[in-house]
């Protein structure tokens, strides 16, 4: 052993110094790499072990608290003592980080699937156990994904008085925070919450629109707001969203606004309004649709002819006869099928394929 340090190592070192610089560098890199590899190996074994441990812990804790929680929920008035004791136990457990995560998770998942008495009960419990405190803290975090978690929890538990906080985030530059804030507004304040559409500067993604509509669909006993303003918004995505609402709530009375939108500068808005007009079978739209047909892009033409097909009457036969020979297969198919419906005895039209 001594030999190694006294003779071999110094010899190696002097040999090392005789090497060209490039090779010296390479051997330093090699040394570093070896250290890194060993370190990663250790790290890898550690995290795998830790993960397995954590998994088991979590499983045990979940089972434990599942039982406690469900027992607590179904305790009767006679078992008041047990009620108080369990509550104390839970309150104490909340102070511990991992226990808190489990208990909170359980309450939130249950609350998600249940309604009525039980849902109210769970919300009250969430307050009583001070879990609200932690959720609000998350909401005030400066890290965006923690903020969102906080907002979610607070919204699900219907914590009031978060209006101002949430409103601030409506025009935040982080898209996810914006979206979460928008959803919260609707969840907590229903149609009133949609007011943000008046001042929204950013576009709303299709994904977000679908999320918002899901929330809106579960609103009960409220009058549909006046959508006219949003149909004239400077924000194109707001118009598209409003058109979806028009369709959802059968706001056929807005047909004049929709017909005007067929001439909107944004192609997406044009297409959406064309679809809705066809869906509602608004015959007044036919003239405009036929007018813009020629100048529209082939894809928009497809939308137009689909709508016209839904609006078709016998007097439209000449239009469809012209389109039988349209170069686009889908368009001439629609023309053909529409003619078949309008003129069951299709003898005079020459099918040119």
């Amino acid at each position: 052993m001594q030999d190694f340090f006294e003779t071999i190592l110094p010899n190696l070192f002097s040999a090392f110094l005789t090497l060209p610089l490039l090779i010296q560098i390479i051997w330093v890199i090699i040394l570093l790499e070896i250290i890194m590899i060993i370190a990663s190996l250790i790290y890898l074994t550690l995290i795998r072990k830790r993960y397995q441990q954590k998994n088991q812990e979590q499983k045990a804790l979940t089972e434990k608290y599942q039982e406690i929680l469900i027992n607590y929920i179904y305790l009767t008035e006679d078992e008041a003592d047990e009620k108080i004791n369990t509550k104390k136990l839970l309150k104490k457990a909340i102070k511990n980080n991992s226990d808190r995560q489990i208990i909170k998770g359980l309450i939130l998942t249950l609350h998600n699937d249940l309604s009525g008495e039980l849902a109210d009960f769970l919300e009250a419990l969430y307050y009583d156990l001070d879990l609200v405190k932690y959720s609000l803290k998350k909401m005030n975090s400066s890290v965006w994904y923690i903020k969102i978690k906080g907002i979610r929890e607070v919204t699900q538990m219907k914590v009031k008085d978060v209006y101002t906080e949430t409103l601030k985030l409506i025009n935040h530059k982080n898209q996810l925070l914006r979206s979460e804030a928008q959803l919260t507004m609707v969840k907590l304040y229903q149609f009133e919450g949609l007011k943000f559409l008046d001042t929204l500067e950013f576009p709303i993604t299709e994904w977000q629109q679908i999320q918002l509509i899901e929330e809106i669909q579960s609103i009960r006993n409220q009058e549909v707001p006046d959508l006219t303003n949003w149909l004239h918004s400077k924000n194109d995505s707001v118009i598209c969203f409003a058109l979806k609402l028009v369709r959802l709530f059968n706001q056929i009375q807005l047909k004049d606004d929709m017909i005007k939108l067929v001439l909107h500068p944004s192609e997406k808005v044009r297409r959406t309004s064309i679809s809705v007009l066809g869906y509602f079978k608004i015959l007044e739209a036919k003239t405009v649709l036929k007018q813009i047909f020629k100048k529209s892009s082939p894809e928009t033409q497809l939308y137009i002819i689909q709508a016209l097909s839904q609006l078709s009457e016998k007097k439209d036969i000449p239009f469809f006869e012209k389109q039988i020979n349209h170069p686009d297969f889908d368009i001439n198919q629609i023309a053909y099928n529409t003619l078949k419906d309008l003129k069951p005895f299709l003898l005079t039209v020459n099918l040119n394929k």
Partner: protein, 473 residues
Amino acid sequence: MISTVYTFLFLYYFFLIFSAIVIASYIILGVISTFETISYFRKNSFVSYKSILSSPFSPSISILAPCYNEGLNIVENVRSLMSLHYVNYQVVIINDGSKDDSIEKLIKVYNLETVKYPINPRIETKQIRGIYKSKNPVFEKLIVIDKENGGKADALNAGLNFSNSDFVACIDVDCMLTEDALQKMLKPFLERTDKKVIATGGVIRIANNCRIENGKLMEVNMPKKLIERYQILEYLRSFLLGRMAWSRLNGLLIISGAFGMFDRRVMIDAGGYDTKTVGEDMEIIVRMRKFMEDNKRKYKIAYIPDPLCWTEAPDNFKTLQLQRNRWARGTIETLRKHRKLFMNPKYGYLGMISYPYWLVYERLAPIVEVIGLLFLGYLYYIDAINWIIALSFIVVAYLFSISFSMAAILSEELTYRQYPKKGDAFKLLVVALIEPFTFHLFTLYAALRGNLDYYTNKRSKWGEMVRKGMGSS
């Protein structure tokens, strides 16, 4: 005499710099990939896919699955595809003139009957023999197109012609998709307002030795053979440390043919799949990108790191060789076809970064490596080898290969942890240790054969993998 010295010096420094850039690029891509994966995780840890499943405004998706002689498993595969959780979708099986009983089996099990359906002939394909739908409303999502044999690309084009959906998911019919695969792949298309997302790619996971029942993944196991484990390691490196980075840089040139989702309109406008290449999955992406650039439209191709698609990997050297051979030829064909992109500033990142990188480090790298090895051998032969220098290079390259594999294994450990069983990580490490001397040399060989076959114009088909049967374990 002097010229030989200069040639040596040139080659010496050439290999040095080439390797240094390879290593540097791997490191850079690895780091970017890690950040991108972490970012994806954060953004998607609280996403709820409930709404997209039940919304009346959910886009329509057609799964296009070409099928050739898949009779053994076709019924199970179809059943699996029909049980996904997305609502607004259909499963289009394109029977590419199978010589076995695929179509008969489908007709029988799914109560199919012929229907009349005008198919848009915009992309030329081999003749369609018939279209089938099920009489049973339980299977109303299923459509089977029977056509003359034309190859995978041709079959996909037939599917494209048929479909009316907003998006198409092009898959290998024997790929097992997770229940939430469609909505996860769909999300990127709906999330951007500044750029148009034209395609999303998914990570392909290896299903060998995994327990699959009724078309659902029940248990993930580490496969038994080293050759299978090697491919897992390779896929982890490639997807977690490579493609995520390219996705972030918007430089992806390929989405695996096993599972990819596309904007149907853009795919059609770009011309559909090219039937004359064996690398149709790479070629369509390059062409779709070129199409968007030519039309001056902002676009993006996204990558989803979640494990959504599980497939069987080759478990023997012969099939693996055929696969890698095909990949090599596909790359060469695609790069050759689109050589106009090379260093062309008109095509931005695509032409100035992606294409050159792919050309040098994917297409040419095997050749450079072989020349390097031959050079080394020559030096040994003429006794001009400086062993210290040679050894240093070999050691640093070997260690780097291991480090990179370790990084991939760690990445997997910190993200999806698909292999949580005891000893699994160790098994992959063993492969990482022996890889540079074994599998790596083999893939090098396969790539070279690919090059050879390409230049000698050998027309080989896809290579039929003998199906082990996805239902058995």
